[in-house]
């Protein structure tokens, strides 16, 4: 009960974002829902036909390239949704539109803002991962009764990034240089090299070890294991633990940085 009461003011911030989303959701359909599906079609089916011929059934653990790719894209899209929603819109509410200043003049506190924002980002992650899961069902790549757990796994993958990026956004001084760097040099390389599109065993040894440390690799491996039914309980728990650790670290930094930025 106390937990609910503590979260309640943050729900007002979530509600505010949902009011805005009620008006803007159409614009998000393309980037959040259609783009990952187009990727799945183009690469999974189109490119996949060639890949399957070359690699044979053994190349992707006995599944087609489409089945290998789909859960990887699900986790990768979760990262991208989380990264986008935690960067520009947060900067806007800190500085460009000054929403947080207005909110902090009410009983709301910095922690309430974070609860509301992360609640909203959770909503975005849940809906995009949910739709993607339905698409995977339709394409027949789901092979495990545990597969629906891939939706919370993708949400957790997003949460491994979101608070960290909110923490980063709270340090940015209102221009987009930092965000451009973040997307070019962190998000895009992670998206390409964390095992979504090809197994990380293809990477040179040092990069493989690096990939193991990244949140996205752990998210991809967890999601894929659940969809394809190949998850080992211990490794799945290890992946989960890494994702939770990134989320926890991000949360602490986000609270500190946003507090410093807004209350001085």
């Amino acid at each position: 009960m106390t937990g609910l009461t503590a979260a309640q003011p943050g729900m007002r911030v979530l509600q505010r974002n949902l009011w805005v989303y009620r008006r803007t959701w159409r614009g998000s359909i393309f980037t959040s829902f259609l783009t990952p599906i187009l990727f799945l079609l183009a690469m999974g089916l189109g490119l996949g036909a060639l890949v399957n011929q070359g690699a044979g059934a053994g190349g992707f653990g006995g599944v087609t390239y489409l089945a290998f790719l789909a859960p990887g894209l699900m986790a990768g899209s979760a990262m991208q949704t989380a990264a986008f929603e935690s960067s520009f819109p947060i900067m806007a509410r800190i500085q460009w539109r000054r929403n947080y200043e207005a909110m902090l003049a009410t009983p709301l506190r910095v922690r309430d803002l974070l609860v509301g924002e992360l609640g909203y980002i959770g909503f975005r992650l849940l809906t995009t991962a949910g739709v993607f899961f339905l698409v995977m069902l339709a394409f027949g790549v789901v092979r495990s009764p545990l597969a629906p757990l891939s939706v919370p796994a993708a949400v957790l993958t997003g949460y491994a990034f979101s608070p960290l990026i909110v923490a980063f956004s709270a340090t940015q001084k209102g221009d987009t240089t930092g965000f451009n760097m973040l997307f070019r040099f962190v998000i895009m390389p992670l998206y390409l090299f964390s095992g979504s599109f090809f197994p990380i065993e293809q990477l040179p040894g040092a990069l493989q070890a690096l990939a193991w440390l990244t949140p996205l690799y752990n998210g991809v491996a967890l999601t894929r294991g659940l969809v394809l039914g190949t998850a080992e309980p211990l490794t799945a728990m290890a992946h989960t633990a890494v994702l939770v650790a990134y989320a926890g670290l991000g949360l602490a930094l986000a609270r500190r940085n946003l507090g410093r930025r807004m209350v001085g």
């Binding site: 007002r12 805005v20 200043e101 207005a102 009983p107």
Partner: protein, 323 residues
């Protein structure tokens, strides 16, 4: 020029809505507010008058419980902002210096969501929103987006938003800066209505006419300190004369005063030379004009006006409010 002493309130009433003693705000080595004392009583309109950078906004942010104090004590509504920020903010209405309306929502939604932040919901919020839209004369724009509204209309919506929780104390930081004269007058009229209904207003301004219109009592701030305190009338009586004779001298006559205005006491109490004019502080402007004519001074223009808070500020700091 030495700071002019004034009598600080030595026995703050227990019912003060705001009470500050030695209130200080530092940012690193910079002292934005330097040990100021003041009290605000219920139902009072209290102003901070001073130029930009005097420390007015920092003071307001501390009262608004969004900026921790660096020293001294501060009580707002009898509570300590450091411990009871949420409870205090629940009873404040804040109009910030720079508009921060929610530009992704409509005019009415701005009020409704702000009500939600105060845990006011449902029919209560809708009733309050409608009343306030009437009060600030925005009812016909209720479904409009915020962005196309003029500066004056946005300010009115910001004021309506600040009233959504029926605040005990209303904080206004430079409420009419950047507005055209007509919009300013309409806003003053609305704020005056609030005052008549018994609201307690605390405002900052660097416009002396705004301070004269709205404040029962004010403090003059300069360089992080309070340099005078009183009602607009008291301040004028205490620090300057009743009338001011403003002389503009011909462009080729910009020589120093070289004694031309000396020895006019007691008729002229003080002479102030500004870059573009000479100000003679006097109890009788007409008589002063005659006297300088007798001395053969031929100004391009001579204007007699009532002394204002601007003159008080000039007297206390040697500078003007708006540069």
């Amino acid at each position: 020029m030495a700071a002019v002493p004034f009598a600080p309130v030595s026995h703050p009433s227990a019912a003060s809505l705001i009470s500050a003693r030695g209130l200080t705000k530092r940012f690193g080595d910079f002292t934005a507010v330097d040990a100021i004392d003041f009290d605000v009583a219920p139902g009072e309109s209290f102003g901070f008058l001073g130029p930009n950078g005097a420390g007015k906004t920092s003071t307001m942010r501390m009262i608004g419980c969004v900026s921790p104090i660096s020293g001294g004590t501060l009580r707002v509504l009898g509570l300590d902002p450091a411990a009871d920020g949420r409870r205090i903010r629940a009873q404040l209405g804040v109009v910030p210096q720079q508009d921060n309306l929610d530009t992704e929502l409509t005019v009415r939604e701005n009020l409704l969501i702000y009500a939600r932040y105060f845990e006011i919901g449902g029919p209560d919020a809708r009733r309050r929103a409608d009343e306030l839209l009437e009060f600030v004369q925005l009812a016909d724009r209720a479904e409009s987006e915020v962005e196309p509204l003029s500066g004056g209309l946005k300010r009115r919506l910001t004021i309506a938003r600040a009233l959504i929780n029926e605040p005990t104390l209303i904080l206004l930081d430079e409420p009419t800066t950047g507005l055209d004269p007509q919009a300013r007058h309409l806003l003053w009229e609305r704020l005056y209505q609030l005052k008549r209904r018994g609201a307690t207003l605390v405002l900052t301004t660097h416009y002396m006419d705004e301070a004269e219109q709205l404040c029962d009592r004010l403090v003059v701030m300069d360089q992080a300190k309070i340099v005078a305190e009183g009602s607009p009338r008291e301040l004028i009586e205490r620090h300057v004369t009743r009338e001011v004779l403003e002389l503009r001298l011909p462009a080729d006559d910009q020589a120093p005063l070289d004694g031309r205005f000396d020895g006019l006491e007691p008729l002229v109490e003080r002479v102030e030379q500004r870059p573009d004019r000479v100000l003679l502080y006097t109890s009788d402007g007409e008589a002063a004009v005659e006297r300088i004519h007798e001395r053969g001074v031929r100004p391009e223009s001579a204007l007699i006006r009532r002394a204002s808070l601007e003159d008080v500020f000039l007297r206390l700091t040697g500078r003007t409010l708006v540069d």
